[in-house]
Symmetry: C2
Subunit: 217 residues, 2 copies
């Protein structure tokens, strides 16, 4: 009975996600679903990526349980942004995105970055209509996270390892992390970056630009 | 309809949590439900707290989606430990704890530390039968987390601010964090600690010992 209800919810979500995808593709908007733990640096990565993707025009959807802090930060750099407050829900879903898309100038955008709720579990299960699923891991979280959150680490197409400027101060082996990822997700490329120093951002931006181009932008 | 189902689930969970509480109180075991983001340092804090609480005898329940890494780490210091793998569930619930309690020597324990799944959202809603709800925040996550995860920050009795050894290297204001917490949860005391250097652990242990004593241990 419980499983039936869950399947139903997921089925409806997938349907709406499909519609979002159609609308986004019609407008030639490449969409990235960005997932991470709380405080891994999602908003900082969004800001760095906006710069790295220039001259592509980026729009942003900010997902948070509460507050408009992130949307205000993003709005300052002059890109269109919509804040979704889930009010307690631990992840974004396709329906929330559908509503937000109506408030974005899709015909003036090349890329949509969706910042999901900070959570390494629930967001992995909900399609939003995205072209790419990205996970931001961060150095202070430790190199064992792929073992503990395998659902998320296997669900994503690309992994950004943020805060590498903190490597001298914490116990973290990039090699051990990479091995752990490769063990469960051989296709996901890993980009070590620091949003503080800017290190690695160029390589990530270059890869993403190519990926966007390859999909026909 | 959906709300009814949810209320039902929560009602059943609360009932089982009540039974857990009775069993733990009968055995004079003070129980702490430890919640945090992934990688905030839950297991390190458990290890430091075990030392700080001596000669009190501690048992541990480790909650993870997958893996037995944390249970193995804790077992090495010679305390009884049970690993719960939720297999995808984003939080522990009272039923999982009920099963785990049957595998712990409660009559030889004074304190039970339950390490919940790394998640700043879902675990806040599920009572386990605990005497105390503790949140571990960590410096690299940023000082704005109380605004973004108000459900968790209001639900807890005490907040440990871990990784203060990283304060020189990241943007984090302990004062701003404290103000943000006080704005939504005036009763929760904050203990800044570093599990790496041991700073602040003594004050936290002293407070916890007094709290345990005050409940009649």
């Amino acid at each position: 009975m419980e499983i039936k209800i869950l399947k139903n919810i997921m089925g409806v979500n997938d349907q709406v996600a499909g519609k979002n995808r159609e609308l986004l593709e019609k407008n030639k908007v490449f969409t990235i679903n960005i997932m991470a733990s709380p405080g891994a640096g999602k908003t900082s990565t969004v800001l760095q990526t906006i710069k790295a993707l220039k001259p592509l025009r980026v729009g942003v959807i900010e997902g948070d349980i509460s507050s408009t802090i992130d949307a205000e930060t993003v709005a300052k750099v002059g890109v269109p942004v919509v804040q979704i407050n889930t009010g307690g829900e631990c992840h974004l879903d396709a329906n929330m995105i559908q509503n937000a898309l109506g408030n974005l100038p899709l015909d003036e955008m090349d890329v949509l970055m969706i910042e999901n709720v900070g959570n390494l579990v629930c967001p992995a299960d909900f399609k939003l209509g995205e072209s790419l699923k990205a996970l931001i891991a961060s150095v202070p979280e430790g190199d064992d996270k792929p073992y503990k959150y395998p659902g998320m680490f296997t669900a994503v197409d690309v992994i950004i390892l943020n805060k590498i400027d903190l490597l001298p101060y914490v116990k973290f082996s990039v090699e051990a992390f990479t091995q752990a990822v490769k063990g469960i997700n051989s296709k996901a490329q890993i980009f070590p970056i620091s949003c503080t120093t800017g290190e690695g951002v160029e390589a990530w931006g270059k890869w993403l630009k190519k990926r966007i181009k390859d999909t026909g932008k």
